[in-house]
């Protein structure tokens, strides 16, 4: 497995190189340019200022020269300087990453715990009222737009009940752990909602298949307690396909955080990406997208490794 892992890690290098070319071209192909930020406010602008601005940023050069400059800097660890904030992109990403990882991590844990509980109980009590309720809620969860759910939860828990804060990661002046956790609740629930819906349905169907398998019948015939039959023999096997999906979904959690972070004013990477997109902040966009690409590749690798770890039938050459 070690050789396989090393080979996959080495394959990442040309893959990331190819991705960087595509991303750079796509970003530059979008109409407009960073000078749009100067005009956004609707103020009168001296046209000479716009030309000087483009020249200073280097966006008046041919695209291949811009890419080469970016690439040579990037391989030495310099992701460039943000057009809008004049700060190093790597520094900006490092500053925002903990907030995004914190949100992703908590959403992942919540989604995993709840979906496993829902999936197992629904399978064990197939066609019961609980199963029907779970099915209905799953469809709602999958169909409901994230921003809409976010606004509903804000209204109910933030405005009407006044239990939870609805924006940011902390109350300035009260940076206690309790305050931070309170700020985390609503974005976590919103970000995990879709995944709970999908994963619980997936596990339910997986469990239903496993519960009818011969080895489960054998386990029951041996007189093992039902808890052990379900928990050890059935759930372990039913979880195998779900875990690989979870690992793959980690990367989509990263991209899914864009809307959640914007609505909840969460200072993460996703919101910074939206700002960078409107400002045509090419270095910032490249930095974030390359990080996202790297995460997708790594999570894919994790999924593959996890699959082999959990399923003894899979061997890596």
């Amino acid at each position: 497995m070690m050789a396989y892992t090393l080979r996959r890690l080495l394959q990442m290098i040309p893959l990331l190189f190819g991705i960087s070319i595509v991303l750079f071209a796509v970003i530059q192909a979008a109409p407009g340019g960073p000078e749009g930020a100067l005009l956004e406010s609707g103020r009168f602008i001296d046209p000479a200022v716009i030309d000087a601005y483009r020249e200073r940023l280097g966006v008046d050069r041919p695209i291949h020269i811009q890419y080469f400059r970016w690439l040579t800097a990037a391989v030495s660890g310099d992701l460039g300087t943000s057009f809008s904030t004049t700060r190093p992109v790597a520094e900006m990403i490092a500053e925002r990453l903990p907030a995004t990882l914190g949100l992703m991590g908590s959403a992942f844990v919540l989604a995993a715990v709840v979906s496993i509980l829902l999936g197992v109980v629904s399978a064990l009590r197939q066609y019961s009222w609980f199963d029907h309720l779970g099915t209905g809620l799953s469809f709602v969860g999958i169909a409901m737009p994230v921003f809409w759910l976010a606004l509903i939860l804000q209204l109910v828990f933030g405005v009407w009940l006044g239990w939870l804060p609805i924006a940011g990661t902390e109350t300035v002046g009260d940076s206690s752990l309790g305050d931070r956790l309170a700020h985390l609740v609503l974005p976590t629930v919103v970000l995990s909602f879709n995944y709970i819906a999908g994963w619980s349905r997936y596990l339910r169907s997986s469990m239903l298949g496993v519960l009818r398998a011969d080895y489960v019948r054998t386990a029951r015939a041996k007189g093992l307690p039902e808890r052990r039959v379900v928990g050890v023999h059935a759930l372990r096997n039913a979880l195998i396909p779900l875990l690989s999906i979870m690992a793959l979904n980690l990367s989509s959690l990263f991209s899914g955080a864009v809307i959640t972070e914007t609505v909840f004013a969460w200072p993460g990477i996703g919101r910074m990406f939206v700002q960078g997109m409107f400002a045509r902040d090419y270095p910032l966009l490249m930095g974030i997208l390359m990080l996202g690409s790297l995460m997708v590749i790594i999570f894919n690798l994790v999924a593959d490794l996890l699959y082999g770890y959990l399923d003894p039938r899979i061997r890596y050459d």
Binding site: G32, F44, S84, R96, S106, I166, A167, G168, S175, V263
Partner: protein, 541 residues
């Protein structure tokens, strides 16, 4: 099972570790709320940099820390801040030289210190001029500083600008002064990129508040300047926190939670916000006016809109009153000129075309724009049909465009839409590759509209050109006294309406939700915003 347990333990640990990364020890600069008068603002965006000249956003946060020679008040008028008074010919501080140049003397406040204790002097003013006027300063109105040929310093608290001619907007510049003792000795590019100033670590101003903290993506915090030059009793607030809440709905919900004292919202949210207990909604008339622009830059648009009579006929087909009353729910005022009614330069006696679709039809018939079998007018075999360029996400402008589309259809004019994302829209707009659009300019308190409506004005995007209007606009820019300038601008506003260069629709409003605990709030719709007098805001218990 053990393996699964381990897997989950790992994932949970990862999540917990990530969570704890965001739950580290509190920054020791974060102050306790107890007993402090902390003004909390739900702010609509995160700004880019703190340098008021290189920021590409509106810089109202910066003006809590930085001051200029002048600012604008709620009367849309420039008032002195770091200058003792604004020079005029009447007060003898403007002198005309024989060679046509002008010497303008600014007397500076003499008891002002920067936040780090350094004395504010004329050297800072001249340094600011050198920076802003240098190529690459990235200042949006850099061209307005280029008329200054020299900056003289007769003493520590007097500055004399030598201008190469007469520029009516002279009192509208130097809205911020940069600290020479911090930024001096650097090149222009170094100043533009100087992170310690841009992000706050070395950011010093003379304003009522000092920079304290900028938490990326979340908030900017400033604290009271105990040595403020206006008096030790000012400012009346200990601390201000601007929390960045970009989503309009979240911002309104945030105000409803009662955790914030101030926010700007959308006009369509006014009715909902008016029900929030303990708050008032102020509809601040903005120096921004919504209007319909018609371009003469393409062959087809010249054919359609080249005749002022055709433009005027079109304008008679647009019901501006119903737009203001119904679409905007009565939150806005009809516009008749680019210059806001709150400005002393506004001319109230200008009539824009009344909504009269029958008259519009007759006028178009008279111009040989005849209705065809498909209900669309045509002339010389070409249909009266054009594309309106919309900017995605600007829901108010798109809704307005849709109303105009429907109203023009009723008089036989076909309008289709092309909607582009912001940066793409801007690119097309500046390239002149468009036919019509709903647009808005954000003007400063200075009433000059020359750049926009002069035939070769740098911001004339429509290609409209009228020599008579040019004379009036240039005359207004050459006038230094109020009466002369107003006379020119009154006539210019009339001429602008006569030529039907564009159709003003309504003056934008900026609804501001303000806690009843705040006193001395005086909303301003200029590009300085309502924070122009933060030094006297108070927060009642």
């Amino acid at each position: 099972m053990n393996k699964n347990k381990n897997t989950f333990a790992c994932l949970s640990s990862l999540a917990a570790a990530s969570l704890l990364a965001g739950c580290g020890p509190a920054d020791d600069r974060v102050t306790a709320d107890a007993g402090r008068r902390i003004l909390r603002v739900a702010y609509e965006r995160e700004i880019d940099v703190l340098n008021a000249y290189t920021s590409q956003n509106l810089v109202d946060i910066q003006f809590s820390m930085v001051e200029g020679l002048v600012t604008t008040n709620d009367q849309n008028t420039y008032i002195p801040v770091l200058a003792k008074r604004i020079p005029t010919e009447a007060n003898g501080l403007i002198v005309h030289n024989d060679d046509g140049s002008i010497e303008m003397t600014w007397e500076l406040q003499d008891n002002v210190r920067w936040h780090d204790g350094e004395l504010f002097t004329s050297e800072d003013v001249c340094f600011t001029w050198r920076f802003v006027s240098s190529p690459g300063s990235q200042t949006y109105n850099r061209d307005q500083y280029l008329g200054i040929q020299d900056c003289l310093m007769p003493d520590e608290h007097t500055v004399v600008f030598r201008w190469n001619g007469v520029y009516g907007y002279y009192a509208s510049i130097f809205e911020a002064i940069l600290p020479e003792h911090v930024l001096g000795g650097m090149t222009t590019e170094e100043i533009v990129n100087y992170t310690p100033y841009n992000r706050g670590d070395e950011m010093v101003g003379t304003g009522p508040f000092r920079f304290a903290e900028w938490k990326s993506g979340e908030y900017i915090r400033v604290t009271r300047n105990d040595s403020y030059w206006r008096g030790t009793n000012l400012p009346a607030v200990d601390e201000i926190v601007w929390s960045f809440i970009p989503d309009n709905n979240t911002r309104l919900n945030a105000m409803k939670t009662g955790r914030y004292h101030f926010a700007r919202i959308e006009p369509t949210q006014v009715a909902e916000a008016e029900g929030i207990e303990g708050f008032e909604v102020h509809r601040v008339s903005s120096n921004s006016f919504m209007h319909l622009d018609l371009s003469l830059n393409t062959e087809r648009s010249r054919f359609l809109f080249g005749d002022p009579a055709a433009r005027r006929a079109m304008f008679h087909g647009i019901d501006r009153t119903s737009i203001a009353e119904q679409l905007m729910e009565g939150t806005v005022k009809l516009a008749n000129s680019p210059i806001n009614p709150s400005s002393p330069y506004h001319n109230p006696d200008i009539a824009q075309p009344e909504y009269d679709p029958d008259r519009a039809r007759r006028m178009l018939d008279d111009l040989d724009w005849l209705v065809g079998s498909d209900g669309v007018r045509s002339k010389d075999g070409r249909r009266f049909s054009f594309v309106m360029l919309n900017r995605a996400g600007q829901s108010d402008r798109i809704a307005l465009a849709q109303v105009i589309q429907a109203q023009l259809k009723a008089i036989g004019i076909e309008v289709s839409f092309e909607t582009l994302e912001s940066a793409a829209w801007t690119s097309r707009w500046r390239n002149g590759d468009w036919e019509a659009m709903v647009s808005a300019w954000f003007l400063s308190a200075d009433p000059s509209i020359t750049g926009q409506y002069l035939c070769n004005g740098p911001n004339n995007m429509t290609g409209m050109c009228d020599p008579e209007l040019d004379e009036l606009l240039l005359g207004s820019d050459r006038a230094l006294d109020f009466e002369t300038r107003k006379r020119y601008l009154d006539l210019a506003q009339v001429r602008l309406a006569e030529t039907s260069a564009m159709l003003p629709i309504y003056y934008n409003v900026i609804p501001e939700v303000v806690s009843q605990r705040i006193s001395n709030y005086r909303g301003s719709g200029t590009n300085f915003g309502s924070f122009w007098n933060l030094y006297e805001w108070a927060l009642e218990p």
